[in-house]
């Protein structure tokens, strides 16, 4: 059965039984090599255990049916019948042997799946992933420091190439999980970890934090964009550049508002004097697929609502409300959305 057909069958069954499990953020819709081998292993396990379950239930049902008695309970002593006992022994031994064989088989397929989780295609791309409360920071480092890219909330990956993620936590334990691409890996403060990813088809997926980390753990998401190597290279080059100075009077005023109020205490915009690393890097905030832990669409209106009071959508988050004048807020968000 081809991969496409298999996916269609999976979609059909899943739509009936596991509604909503296929599609974005679904382990059953693999888009990466490792996710593919994990999904295969999942179906094998499900098939074998479902079959064993059905057999055991059938035998139990037959037993219940066969031991029906008409009338009341019998008073005579029940003695073992030699013929039945011997047959029973043979059946139990056969079932035992079959179980051992099946478990060994499952263990072998598990081994094969694990071996498939090793990197294959040459030099991996290295991305440093830092987990903060409650946002993700992705840094693409480069031997030339001016080419470094800092992309909070959006992880771009080239299709068909191994990517090694260096996982580091800034504060508490988080866990990196992109269901479509690979399994989970914890980010433990003080213990850097690494995780291999290999995207096999382009698409946009959603990743999330899989280890409870505080008030906004549930909204600590990020967007994963898998694209062709050419588009990835173009994106990376664009992100490494300093944005041009603001062109209109409104965006100029917006930049002044950014630098004159509390924004620069926590945020960086390369090309201005603001270089704080407490909060996410805003140098190319206009090009992000989503805002605020991938919970808000990236539009000027949503940005205005977020800046005015982040505690309304994500209470407990570290960013304070900002009591700005309406005109200042409009200019500020116009400036920020112009930073592509």
């Amino acid at each position: 059965m081809s991969a496409r057909a298999r996916r269609t069958v999976a979609a059909g069954i899943s739509a009936l039984a596991l509604a909503g499990c296929v599609g974005r953020s679904s382990v059953l819709d693999p888009a990466g090599r490792y996710a593919l081998s994990l999904e295969r292993q999942w179906w094998i396990n499900l098939g074998v255990t479902a079959a064993v379950f059905a057999i055991v239930m059938a035998v139990a049902a037959r037993g219940v049916w066969k031991s029906r008695t008409r009338g009341g309970p019998r008073d005579e002593v029940i003695r073992p019948v030699e013929r039945h006992e011997r047959r029973g022994e043979r059946i139990v031994l056969a079932a035992l042997a079959l179980s051992a064989l099946l478990l060994a088989g499952l263990g072998y397929t598990d081994l094969v799946a694990r071996r498939a989780l090793k990197p294959v295609t040459g030099e991996p791309l290295v991305v440093k992933v830092t987990g903060h409360q409650w946002w993700w920071e992705f840094e693409y480092q480069d031997p030339l420091p001016s080419n470094a890219v800092n992309s909070p909330g959006a992880l771009h990956l080239p299709v068909g190439r191994d990517v090694r993620l260096e996982l580091v936590s800034h504060d508490v334990i988080h866990s990196f999980w992109v269901p479509n691409l690979t399994g989970k890996r914890d980010l433990i403060p003080g213990h850097p970890a690494s995780l291999m990813i290999h995207a096999t088809r382009p698409g946009t997926f959603v990743g999330e934090c899989a280890e409870f980390c505080g008030h906004q753990h549930a909204t600590m998401r990020f967007v994963v964009v898998c694209e062709s190597p050419a588009r990835f290279a173009a994106w990376r080059t664009a992100q490494s550049q300093v944005p041009p100075p603001p062109a209109t009077a409104e965006t100029n005023h917006g930049r002044d508002v950014f630098l004159a109020s509390s924004c620069m205490m926590c945020h960086t915009i390369r090309g201005t004097g603001a270089a704080s690393r407490v909060g996410p890097d805003l140098t190319h905030v206009g090009s992000r697929p989503a805002l605020a832990g991938a919970t808000l669409p990236n539009t000027q209106g949503h940005l205005m609502a977020w800046i005015a009071d982040p505690q309304a959508t994500r209470p407990g988050v570290k960013m304070p409300p900002n009591a700005l004048d309406r005109d200042d807020l409009v200019a500020l968000t116009a400036y920020l959305t112009s930073l592509r």
């Binding site: 205490m265 505690q311 407990g316 304070p320 409300p321």
Partner: protein
């Protein structure tokens, strides 16, 4: 009274326990600051405080915006821990160390050059002080300045024991955490520049 055992008294015991537990007050965390609290702190009005003086006694707390927060936050664990987070996030430790002082004066001792009252510390942060303390006027929301004020005072024990931050995970354990420093009476030593008077 005859001995009947505990079981017949169970409803009374349960009632007593429920009353005791209900009286425990849980600290409330207000994440949504009011507009007045979220406005950035601007430089407070000029005062005539000299180095070495305590806060002016005739100063009226009502004239300082939200000055009640200076004492409120001293009893709230969330605000003290936020003050601690902001203290390191905004690099106060760059000059003050973790309270032990470096280029800037220590904050965990009894000597307060410009006064130890919450209002004095507020003004030190917002207006800046001579010889290197920068002004953060227009940069920090009001309520966060008061969180910093409460934390800075907790460094020398002027905050509630139950609310002060505990041991920092990344610090040596020889340093007593904020919640076990006794609040000693502040002493404002006379600090005069060389050559004057």
């Amino acid at each position: 009274m005859s001995r009947r055992g505990v079981l017949p008294c169970l409803p009374e015991i349960a009632l007593a326990a429920a009353l005791v537990i209900a009286s425990c007050e849980r600290e409330r965390r207000d994440f949504q600051a009011s507009t007045a609290e979220a406005v950035v702190a601007r430089a407070a009005p000029l005062d005539t405080l000299h180095a070495g003086e305590d806060s002016l006694p005739e100063f009226l707390p009502a004239s300082m915006p939200l000055s009640h927060l200076g004492t409120t936050y001293a009893g709230r664990a969330y605000d003290l821990s936020e003050g601690k987070r902001l203290f390191s996030a905004w690099n106060c430790s760059g000059c003050h160390g973790n309270g032990g002082g470096n280029m800037g004066p220590p904050l965990m001792d009894r000597t307060w050059i410009y006064g130890s009252s919450p209002d004095s510390v507020y003004r030190s942060i917002v207006r800046g002080r001579p010889n290197g303390m920068p002004s953060f006027s227009g940069r920090i929301p009001q309520y966060q300045v008061w969180q910093l004020v409460a934390y800075v005072r907790s460094l020398s024990g002027h905050a509630s024991f139950t609310a002060s931050p505990g041991r920092s995970e990344d610090m040596e354990t020889q340093v007593r955490p904020e919640n076990s420093r006794r609040g000693r009476a502040p002493v404002d030593r006379n600090h005069r520049p060389e050559g004057s008077r």
